[in-house]
Amino acid sequence: MRKPILITCFAAGFLGACAQTSHLAYYYKTVVGFNASASNQPPSGQIMLGYDRRMIALVPKTQPDSNKPDYEAMSVISCVNARTRQVFSIDFEERLATGEAANNYADNPEKSKSHFFKCFDEPSAENQQKGVEK
């Protein structure tokens, strides 16, 4: 009985380890119970029993098809306003720019504020309607 479990765990770990992190990902995770999870970039893992809530951001460091080990994969500028209504109910509003678009916004911070990333200093229309303050 022990062997199949070990094989399953090994297979899951092998698949995960082989997977290239070629995407930007961020997510919010809430668990009540038992959780064992891992990520390959950066190498990390956890075993948890009980209640856990966390926000995880995975940003690729290098281009998957690049031969330059120090070549930065991407630029990101992002603003997320997340609001928990219940334990398992999350609303969010995000504004995100990647790659050249992020570089352009970084080069022109005033443009960023006025055009796209208003969420840095202004409450959203949705929040204004609901009377929520940031």
């Binding site: 899951a12 698949l15 930007l24 961020y26 997510y27 959780n35 995880i56 398992f88 995000e94 990647t98």
Partner: protein
């Protein structure tokens, strides 16, 4: 000691429902977008939102959402809806049962809730959960993309979803 008739009937109904739920949980099976599942598609502003309900064993095969789960689950996918992703037009608003025409494109956000056993096989994380789990994937973007995205998502209110994506350097500016 004899029970009153009403209580006996209620007890039998409860037992029946419990047994029925157990049977459905054990025998329910779905792979990808086919099987013991139901989905509700909602047309939102710039997006089509799919609420996918599963029961029993469910093998997720989408590249951005692979895994295996046993139990009850609800997954909400937010797909971009514009002329550059024609595959989303197969998602007619309304209820779909047993076969859900999910598009080939990646979802820009996934809100998943699950009660039971869930084996995650990436792409962001791999692992196993036993119990209750809620995962909200807010962004999943290829590292070589240059884009701007604005997304508002309200859990349980798919019609209020708002999505705008603008890609740079591609023939179709809105393509994700």
């Amino acid at each position: 000691m004899s029970w009153p008739k009403a209580e006996t009937a209620l007890f039998i109904v409860c037992c029946f429902l419990l047994l029925y739920g157990l049977c459905v949980t054990i025998t329910g099976c779905a792979v990808g977008n086919v099987g013991s599942l139901a989905a509700h598609v909602t047309q939102a502003d710039g997006a089509r939102v799919v609420d996918l309900y599963t029961v029993g064993l469910y093998l997720r095969t989408a590249p951005d959402d692979q895994g295996l789960q046993l139990g009850f689950g609800k997954r909400t996918y937010v797909f971009p809806d514009h002329s550059c992703t024609p595959s989303t037009y197969s998602l007619e608003p309304g209820w779909h049962y047993f076969v859900v025409p999910l598009p080939d494109t990646s979802a820009v956000a996934i809100d998943s809730r699950h009660l039971g056993v869930d084996l995650q096989l990436g792409p962001a994380e791999f692992g196993i959960t036993i119990g209750l789990q809620n995962t909200v994937l807010m962004a999943y973007i290829p590292s070589d993309r240059s884009l701007t995205m604005q997304l508002s998502y309200f859990s349980g209110q798919p019609a209020q979803t708002y999505l705008r994506i603008r890609n740079q350097g591609e023939p179709c500016e809105s393509q994700y």
